[in-house]
């Protein structure tokens, strides 16, 4: 698969009114990712509705209910590619359940595109989008200032919005080089794939060119190796009689044959004997690899346990504090009991204290006795067994968890460990 093509994952933030679906539709159209039958379907729908232009938003609005209401209501994944890059776009809607959806979409993305309507400028919703990008520690943010055609492609408008946004950046953990501003008109295709002649004052890359120069290696976090055991492979065949492979995905850093490792929770140590990727034995694996590892010694290690380099062992505790985003309509309450899933490991968790609800517009916190859908808050938990974690800042995969409620087993919260 596309060995020579890199993969960039993007979350888009903005409401329908900001022209988000139009922007995505335009990207698809300009990269020739829309097939003839899809373009025909868009032409047909646009005509049926009496529009005098092609409504690209119809390329992404999926479900019947949404088409009827004219809004998107859930995270949709959209795929397109250029010769150099595969893109995955998590398109999240901008209405009531926005926080939940954007957190979900952004959790699998390296880049966020925040859309701003040039006529409206930085509004409360922009604060929220940027707050979530900051909370999830998105590697790179593109601020697309859209509908420039409706403000006569005026540079002053662009500069004003940029200055307002820079004031937000100052309140965040982002550095300036992580943020890029691009004035666009998605409807007209200005600065999307084509350099706009209407805005000669803008000398930066088009949106597509900008997305293409991003390097996955630069967007990846550099941390230490964490290897949660997902599944133990025991072939029990003649040829592989004694084989015990601990399989899983590697996060944060490399592991190689000969590394001295510590096993959690037992705290036993061993040495990596071999690393397997299908029928190949490899010397060293990079983060993101799905591999199987064998060890020098007979050890007791099963699903949910963790293998780490002995030189950098994570914290193992039964109490933790996390920023929680509530993603289900069932509220999080003090005393509530949940199944806490940390990677592939599950323990029971009890809410000890809800310390605060956090305003998503960078204006501080307030006290709260529960967290409702789309609320973000700081929460203290007590666990039935220790988990082996880093902070979310140190290692995203090993610093995040979900909470599963015990009735319908719905996923009700996502947590970022502090």
């Amino acid at each position: 698969m596309s060995e020579n093509r890199k993969l960039i994952k993007i979350a888009t933030a903005g409401s329908v009114d900001d022209g988000k679906s139009t922007l995505i539709g335009r990207l698809l159209y300009d990269t020739k990712s829309l097939t003839t039958d899809k373009i025909e379907a868009i032409e047909r729908s646009s005509k049926q509705r009496g529009y005098d232009y092609l409504d690209f938003s119809l390329a992404t609005d999926g479900l019947v209910a949404e088409r009827e209401q004219g809004i998107t209501i859930d995270v949709a994944h959209i795929y397109f590619n250029t010769d150099k890059t595969n893109f995955i776009v998590a398109d999240t809607p901008g209405h009531v359940e926005y926080t939940r959806n954007m957190v979900t979409g952004a959790s699998t993305s390296q880049v966020a595109i925040i859309l701003i309507d040039a006529r409206k400028g930085v509004i409360e919703q922009t604060y929220r989008h940027f707050f979530i990008s900051n909370l999830l520690r998105i590697s790179h943010v593109v601020v697309a200032i859209n509908k420039m055609d409706l403000v006569n492609y005026d540079e002053e408008v662009y500069l004003k919005i940029k200055a307002d946004f820079d004031a937000l950046v100052a309140k965040s953990d982002f550095t300036e080089d992580q943020i890029t501003f691009i004035p666009v008109s998605a409807l007209k295709g200005e600065n999307i794939a084509r350099q706009s002649e209407e805005m000669p004052w803008y000398v930066g890359n088009t949106l597509l060119d900008h997305l293409e120069v991003l390097e996955p290696a630069d967007l990846q976090e550099h941390s230490v190796a964490r290897f949660p055991v997902q599944y133990v492979i025991r072939p029990k065949t003649e040829a592989w009689h004694d084989f015990r492979g601990f399989s899983g995905m590697l996060y944060g850093g490399n592991l190689k044959v000969g590394d001295e490792v510590t096993l959690l929770p037992s705290m036993n140590t061993s040495t990596i004997k071999s690393i397997h990727y299908f029928d190949q034995e490899i010397q060293e694996a990079a983060p993101g690899s799905s591999i199987a590892i064998t060890l020098d010694t007979e050890v007791d290690l099963s699903r949910g346990d963790m293998l780490v380099k002995s030189s950098s062992v994570p914290r193992s505790e039964k109490q933790l504090t996390a920023t929680i985003c509530q993603v289900n309509s069932k509220p999080l309450r003090v005393g509530g009991k949940y199944i806490l899933q940390h990677g592939v490991n599950r323990v029971l968790a009890k809410v000890d204290q809800i310390e605060s609800r956090i305003h998503t517009d960078f204006t501080g916190t307030e006290t709260a006795d529960q967290l409702k859908l789309n609320d973000i808050g700081r929460v203290h938990f007590r666990l039935s067994k220790p988990i082996h974690f880093d902070t979310y800042k140190e290692n995203k995969a090993n610093g995040s968890f979900i909470l599963i409620e015990e009735g319908e087993y719905d996923t009700v919260s996502v947590g970022f460990i502090e």
């Binding site: 209501i73 065949t237 399989s247 990727y277 995969a397």
Partner: protein, 299 residues
């Protein structure tokens, strides 16, 4: 020995998902159609558990109207890899009076498969069905989860899906529920073809250009044989065609093609201006066709 493994991110994610299925469920099954997507799944499952065998069976819901090339291929693959194959027939569901054969010009057994599938799930108490559906196939699929919980009736409730955060998969269910699992959700059609080429995976011959008796209807190329309803005036022609998607004969249209090798096919897909499901007759029925089928348990 290779020095450093730099992962292919989509493959690594799929292997991760397949291992989660094996770990989180008691009786998973891989839904195998003999098409390129389910063949790709088999390769990924091999990679997930090597050197052990794939720890779950394959289930083929046979409409009885499959291309013989697909069936022959299926049996060979199962034999070579030492897999367990379960076949359940739509014909049996018809004979038991559970579903009725469609009549007329667009008659197909495609939608009848759902009943046979749900019966098989119940018979074997499968709690997870691994499918080769991809989000890029169709608009309704774009919002599908990797783990998609279905109720006792196999129904999909698109308004009440579990959010999926990072790569943590929540497969907790109650008795009677089951989960459809889609490891290649994030792959595109081109990804699949490029993977088949890179990995040198064998696929049924009907994916390559061959001479076939066909007839034209509604701008699509239909297979001419006894399973496909044809009006007297619809003339049978012999053409060089291939299939881009392989389902039941009654719902899979061919495309004109000269592509005889994987290189040719990948080139053709790259330049193609018709979407894959554009050749699916079942989707042409209405714009919301897929969404409606999903709600009643189609995977």
């Amino acid at each position: 020995m290779n020095n450093l493994l730099i992962p292919n991110p989509k493959e690594a994610e799929s292997i991760h998902i397949i291992r989660e299925v094996a770990a989180q469920f008691e009786r998973p099954v891989l839904l195998f159609s003999g098409g390129k997507d389910s063949i790709t799944l088999v390769r990924l499952a091999q990679k997930a558990f090597y050197p052990a065998r794939i720890p779950f069976p394959l289930l083929h819901v046979d409409t009885g109207h499959n291309f013989p090339e697909t069936i022959e291929f299926r049996d060979r693959l199962v034999e070579e890899l030492g897999l367990e194959l379960i076949v359940r027939n739509v014909q049996d569901s018809i004979d038991q009076g559970k579903v009725r054969e469609e009549r007329g010009r667009y008659s197909s057994r495609n939608s009848l498969q759902t009943t046979t599938l749900l019966d098989a799930i119940e018979e074997f108490k499968f709690d997870a069905c691994i499918g080769g559906a991809r989000r890029d196939e169709e608009k309704a699929r774009a919002k599908e989860r990797v783990f998609s919980v279905r109720d006792d009736f196999g129904q999909w409730d698109e308004k009440n899906q579990r959010p999926e955060l990072f790569d943590m998969l929540n497969g907790k269910i109650h008795n009677g529920q089951n989960v459809r699992c889609f490891p290649i959700s994030n792959w595109t059609e081109l990804d699949v073809w490029e993977y088949i080429k890179t990995e040198n995976i064998e696929i049924p011959s009907i994916y390559f250009a061959h001479e076939r008796e066909v007839f034209l209807r509604d701008g699509m190329i239909w297979t001419a044989n006894e399973h496909v309803f044809r009006e007297a005036h619809e003339e049978v022609l012999v053409k060089m065609v291939r299939f881009r998607t392989v389902g039941d004969m009654t719902c899979t249209a061919a495309v004109f093609s000269e592509a005889v090798s994987l290189d040719d096919v990948v080139g053709e897909i790259r330049d193609s201006s018709i979407s894959e499901r554009g050749a699916r007759i079942d989707d042409k029925r209405s714009e919301a066709a897929m969404e409606k089928r999903k709600k009643v348990g189609y995977f």
